[in-house]
């Protein structure tokens, strides 16, 4: 199987194949033979050329979160043809949707629709786990719409506000 992997903004070509109980993985042309064991939870024990890697791999919405010790990396895998299509869609400076990254309760809304905001300016305050968290504008622009009200709960991923890009 041939895929494109993105890690920290860089792309790699990766070919994976199973051979005699092991995995042969070719990353950017370099081949490695891996002895892989899936263990408890998300853990894998991988031996490759005498090296031992205990990693955990979690599939998240964004991709594969690979952890080793206290460190982690997000690896996105995609079919190169499908990726080209997606890139086309996401390119360009359309309106920015601000979504809740955690469930919580809206404590205050700090801006109104139509208002101009700077990048980093507070849009609203969400309380979760006893902490108030200010949600800041990801870019400068005009607030197109606000989708929540103070006092009401929000789910993770809920749309909070939309900001149309602008030069400030």
């Amino acid at each position: 199987m041939k895929l494109e992997a993105t890690l920290g903004g860089r792309s790699h070509e990766v070919i994976t194949e199973r051979r005699e109980g092991r995995y042969v993985v070719v990353v950017d042309g370099v081949e490695r033979v891996l002895d892989v064991r899936k263990l408890e939870g998300d853990f894998y024990s991988i031996l490759a050329g005498g090296r031992s890697y205990e990693v955990s791999v979690e599939r998240t919405k964004e991709g594969y979160e690979v952890r080793h010790g206290a460190a982690s990396r997000l690896v996105r895998l995609s079919d190169p043809t499908r990726k080209a299509r997606e890139e086309l869609l996401s390119r360009g400076g359309g309106p920015e949707r601000v979504v809740a990254s955690m469930p919580g309760k809206v404590v205050r809304v700090l801006v109104s629709p139509g208002e101009r905001v700077e990048a980093g300016q507070g849009l609203l305050v969400i309380e979760a786990m006893k902490m108030e968290n200010e949600i800041a504008a990801p870019r400068a622009g005009a607030v197109t719409s606000i989708h929540v009200e103070a006092g009401l709960p929000v789910e993770a991923g809920a749309l909070l506000a939309v900001i149309a890009p602008g030069q400030g």
């Binding site: 939870g41 990693v55 599939r59």
Partner: protein, 497 residues
């Protein structure tokens, strides 16, 4: 029989102390905590209301009702919630229950940060320049701030733990920060009274643990340095402090004992101080409760503070003499919170899908999680505390780093990588820290470097992906052949589970 009026790791820690003393325990739980570990570990458990703390863990009458129903003789409040609310010891007294903590009067005096300052000043304890409680009039507030001189710190008179606290560097910021601080103080403590204090630049937070029995016996158990903070919440604590030598320890220990006596204190308490760049110490506040970071003191002194609190509450005179308090080695605690440092410490509630806790030489782990546990949204995001002891600070740091590499929590994002970076930072290693350390080093929030991970991450993800596809295809075959075993042959030796 002791009722533990708390939840999470501290409830578990108190229950452990009770069980070691042969004392039966009663847990209380909100509707969000039926499956919490403290409920599982206690001998008895009673519900006290809905998930929001104000409807359960902050309701004194429900706690007392649970104590009555269970026949508990004493109440331990832990930290947070009602731990510094003098109404609880009063209500306990009225109900004929022993409160495991200081007398209501001492709590009240120290809980009012303004009164506490006055008492300490009178007792000859050095305090920072500050204001009386602030009236609503913003002009008066502005006046106080100018007379103290910017930067100033807004603090909740009833507070602690960084909530309701704001640094004001310029007069323009004062109105909005005042409003924020008032709002947070009101929601956190039910009291929006604030006061101002001189804000020290790059101070170190150093606090002294005291134990007093209320009959005149009082000792200090050395200091803890808690300068690694984010938003005034401590993240890393250690004992001893790298800048406190034996003579300084005696001096600030003596100040702390004097402060405890001035407050009419009994039980375990902590005198928090700030140390400025010149080495001068200023009283900040006295916390009239067990601290989150008490384990580092326990590991260097060998004293179990929770047991000492219980013994004092039971009327036993303090056995510990000052000369028998000897600090041995060095202990560091990392608070592991379910927050994502890379995204502004965004809370990351969720369900623990996998858990491997650190262990081995020199490691203490205090937690309340288990696989399948869902961290409730309503409470503090503290997941666990990892504490490392070493013969010296370098060994404690090395052990902590090793322990954090072993620790694994799947399902929620934690601040473990941040801790790992702090431990490796040359200034931290040199002991050159202050309360603004994290803000001053934003690179600590970036992903942890790991050459091993870089070389394997892509391959590991690719293999996991291939396996997921294979598993799907096997399942597909399985169901089409009527739920039996699939014809897919796993290669020998490669797939033991």
């Amino acid at each position: 029989k002791i009722l533990v009026a708390n939840r999470g790791e501290i409830a578990v820690r108190i229950i452990r102390a009770c069980h070691e003393m042969g004392i039966r325990t009663v847990a209380v739980y909100s509707e969000a905590d039926r499956e919490a570990l403290h409920v599982r570990y206690a001998h008895e458990a009673l519900p006290i209301g809905p998930a929001p703390a104000r409807d359960s863990y902050l309701r004194i009458e429900r706690i007392l009702d649970a104590a009555r129903r269970s026949g508990a003789e004493a109440v331990h409040p832990g930290y947070g919630f009602l731990a510094e609310n003098p109404a609880l010891p009063r209500a306990c007294r009225d109900a004929g229950l022993v409160f495991i903590g200081p007398p209501a009067e001492a709590m009240e005096a120290m809980g009012d940060k303004v009164r506490a300052r006055a008492i300490m000043e009178a007792a000859g304890v050095p305090v920072l320049p500050g204001s009386p409680p602030l009236p609503p009039d913003p002009e008066v507030v502005r006046g106080w701030a100018s007379s103290i001189g910017y930067p100033v710190l807004l603090k909740a008179a009833a507070g602690g733990g960084g909530r309701g606290m704001r640094i004001v560097r310029r007069e323009e910021e004062l109105p909005s920060l005042l409003a924020q601080a008032r709002g947070e103080a009101a929601s956190a403590f039910g009291n929006d009274r604030l006061f101002l204090e001189k804000y020290l630049e790059r101070p170190r937070h150093i606090e002294v643990q005291v134990l007093a029995d209320g009959d005149g016996r009082a000792v200090h158990l050395g200091e803890r340095e808690c300068s690694i903070q984010r938003r005034h919440q401590k993240l890393v604590e250690e004992s001893p402090s790298p800048v406190v030598d034996e003579a300084t320890r005696e001096r600030i220990g003596e100040i702390a004992v004097r402060a405890a006596r001035a407050a009419g204190y009994s039980s375990a308490g902590t005198v928090e101080m700030l140390r400025d760049a010149s080495g001068a110490f200023y009283f900040m506040e006295m916390n009239t409760r067990l601290q989150v970071e008490h384990p580092v003191t326990e590991m260097v002194t060998g004293v179990d503070l929770v047991k000492a609190m219980i013994e004092i509450a039971a009327g036993a005179p303090l056995q510990l003499e000052q000369e028998n308090v000897v600090l041995r080695g060095h202990a560091i605690e990392c608070r592991i919170v379910a927050e994502d440092p890379a995204r502004g410490f965004l809370p990351s509630p969720g369900t623990i899908r996998g858990l491997r806790v650190p262990s081995g030489p020199g490691i203490r782990y205090d937690g309340a999680s288990y696989v399948g546990y869902t961290i409730p949204l309503e409470y503090d995001p503290l997941l666990s505390k990892v504490v490392a002891w070493g013969r010296d600070r370098a060994e404690a740091i090395a052990r902590m780093a090793r322990a954090l590499d072993e620790y694994r929590v799947d399902g929620v994002v934690t601040c473990v990588p941040l801790h790992r970076k702090v431990l490796a930072h040359p200034r931290f290693v040199a002991g050159d820290i202050h309360t603004g350390f994290l803000e001053e080093h934003p690179e600590l929030l970036e992903p942890l470097e790991d050459p091993w991970l870089d070389e394997i991450a892509v391959a590991a993800a690719a293999v996991a992906h291939l396996r997921a596809l294979e598993a799907r295809s096997v399942q597909g075959e399985g169901s089409s052949s009527g739920g039996g075993r699939s014809a897919w042959k796993w290669p020998a030796g490669g797939w033991k589970r």
